[in-house]
Symmetry: C3
Subunit: 209 residues, 3 copies
C-alpha cells in the first residue's frame, strides 16, 4: 500500500471506504436482527462490506484482494460494525428510508468500481459488467448464505439488475472513449436512480408463467 | 482468447460449450421451479453451468477462470437460460428422462475435462481426480446453496461418485500412456453409463449404521 | 512437494496433519449424524479439515493451495473420514469431552499456522490475525453451509474468538521478535486454554440489547 496517490485515486479510495462503511453498517444491522453475538456481527459486517470485492479480486487473480492487502478496509468495516452494535436500537429507529438510500449508494459505487477494475484486467465488456454486478451484490449474498436465507438478490425486485445496468453504462461510456470520472459518475447515477425508483414504484422483473 | 486452435481444441471447446448449455438449462429449470425472477434464473443458470469450472480454476490458480476470460461461455449459459425461461412450461413437459440423460452427459464431460486440466497443472493424480469431481458437481452445489437446499450431491445416490469414477478412468489411462482422446472418451463413457445405470436401478452408497 | 525439509518443517507438517485428521473425524461425525452417504461423509470430512486452509491460500494467492498440491493432506483427511465411518457408532460413545478437546486442539493449531503463514506473505498484522481465524473456523463454516445450518461460528460462544486470540498472541510475539517456535506454542496454548475454559464455564460474548 502506498499512501502517495494521484488526486483521483484519493477520491476513489474515499468513496470506496464510504461504501464499505455503509455496507458494513447494514450487515451488522442484519446480524443483530438475527440475534448473533458481537463476533458474529463483526464477521457479517466484514463480509457484507468486503465480500463482493474479494470475490471479484479472486476471479481476476488480483490476490491478495485489495481488502486483505490494505488494512484500512477491514478497519473501516469493523469500526462501522462496532458503532452499529453500540448504537442499536437507535440506529434502527433512524428509519428505513435512510437505510435504503445508503444501501443504494453503496451498491452503485461498488458496481461501477468493480466493472472498471475488471476492464483494467482486460476482461471482455460483457463479463466486466457481470463483475460489476458481482462486486455490488456479492457481499450481501455471502451474508444471506451465512445466516441461512435465500439471498435477497435472488428473491427481490430490481436490485442486482440496477447494479448491472449501472455497470453497463460505465463500461459502454469507457469503451466509447469517455473520461473515467464521467463514466463513473454516469454509471453510479443510473444505478442509484434505478434502484430508488424501483423501491418507490415496486418494479419487478418478469417471472416464468 | 485466440480463435485459431488445433483441430482437437475445437472439438473440446464445442463439447465444453454443449455441456455448458445443458447445465445452464437445468439450472434455469430449477430456478423457475423456485419462483425466482428472470435475473435470478440467469444467475442460477450461469452458476450451475460455470461454477464448477470456476472453482477448479481458482484452486489451480488459473485466473481469471476460463469462463470469465472467454465471453462465449457466459453467452452460451445466459442464452440457454433465456431459452429455458421462454419455453417454460413446455420445456418441463419434455420429460424427465431427457433431463436426466442431458445432466449425465454434462456431468461426464465436465468431470473428465476438469481432471485432465488439473493433470496439465501437475496436480497429483488422486487430487486431479477430485478436481474432476469438483468440476462436475461444483456448479450444481453452488446452485443448491443459493436456493437454500442441502446440495443434491450430499443427499442422493450415485452422482458425484460417477463423476469421480469417470475422472479416475481418464486419469489412470492418461498415466498409462493412452492418447488423450481415448482417455477422454473412456472416462466420459464410464461416468455416463454409471450415472444412467444408477438412476435406472436406484443404486445407493452405504450409510453409517 | 519436497520430502527433504529442515527439522522444524517436519514438526510443523506433523502437527498440521494431526490437526487435519482431528477436524476430518469431527466433520465425518457431523455428516453421519446428518444421514449422509459414504461419499457425502468423505466430502464433508475433506472440507471440514482442509476448507479453512484452502480459503486462506486462495486469499493469499498461494495457489494451488497446500492441500491440493500435497496429496498427503487429502489422504489423511479421507482416511480419517473412512475410519470414523467404520467405527461409528463406537466413535460417538468415546464421549464428548474428548471430542471438544480434539476440536480445540485442531482449532488452535490451524489458527496459529494460518496467521504465521499470512505474515510470511507480508499481510498486515491485523489481517494476518483474521486470516488465522479464517483458517481455524473456515472448514467448519463450509461444512455447516453445506448441511444447511447457520454456521456454529456465528451461533455459539467463544470459538472464533479463541482462534483470533491465539492468532493475535502469535502475531504480536513474532512482531516483538520472539522465536517462531515460542510464538507458535504461546498462541496455541492461549487459544486452547481459552476455548476449553469457555466450554467449561459457558462464557458468552455480548449480544445487542
Amino acid at each position: 500500500v502506498t499512501f502517495f496517490r494521484p488526486r483521483g485515486e484519493h477520491l476513489l479510495l474515499a468513496l470506496d471506504l464510504i461504501g464499505t462503511a455503509l455496507f458494513a453498517a447494514e450487515g451488522a444491522a442484519t446480524a443483530i436482527a438475527s440475534h448473533l453475538d458481537l463476533l458474529g456481527i463483526l464477521v457479517i459486517a466484514f463480509l457484507t462490506a468486503l465480500g463482493g470485492g474479494i470475490i471479484r479480486d479472486l476471479l481476476l487473480g488480483a490476490t491478495p484482494p485489495n481488502s486483505i492487502r490494505d488494512w484500512r478496509y477491514a478497519a473501516v468495516a469493523l469500526a462501522s460494525g462496532v458503532v452499529t452494535f453500540l448504537m442499536h436500537p437507535s440506529s434502527v429507529a433512524m428509519g428505513s428510508h435512510w437505510l435504503v438510500a445508503m444501501d443504494a449508494a453503496g451498491l452503485s459505487l461498488f458496481a461501477v468500481a468493480g466493472a472498471t477494475k475488471a476492464l483494467r484486467f482486460e476482461i471482455h465488456p460483457l463479463l466486466a459488467t457481470m463483475m460489476g454486478g458481482i462486486t455490488g451484490v456479492g457481499g450481501g449474498t455471502l451474508r444471506d448464505l451465512l445466516i441461512n436465507q435465500v439471498p435477497t438478490v435472488l428473491r427481490t425486485d430490481i436490485y442486482a439488475s440496477a447494479a448491472l445496468l449501472g455497470a453497463a453504462v460505465a463500461v459502454v461510456l469507457l469503451r466509447l472513449g469517455a473520461k473515467p470520472i464521467i463514466a463513473d459518475i454516469c454509471g453510479i447515477a443510473v444505478c442509484f436512480t434505478t434502484r430508488m425508483l424501483a423501491v418507490q414504484h415496486r418494479w419487478n422483473l418478469p417471472v416464468a408463467g
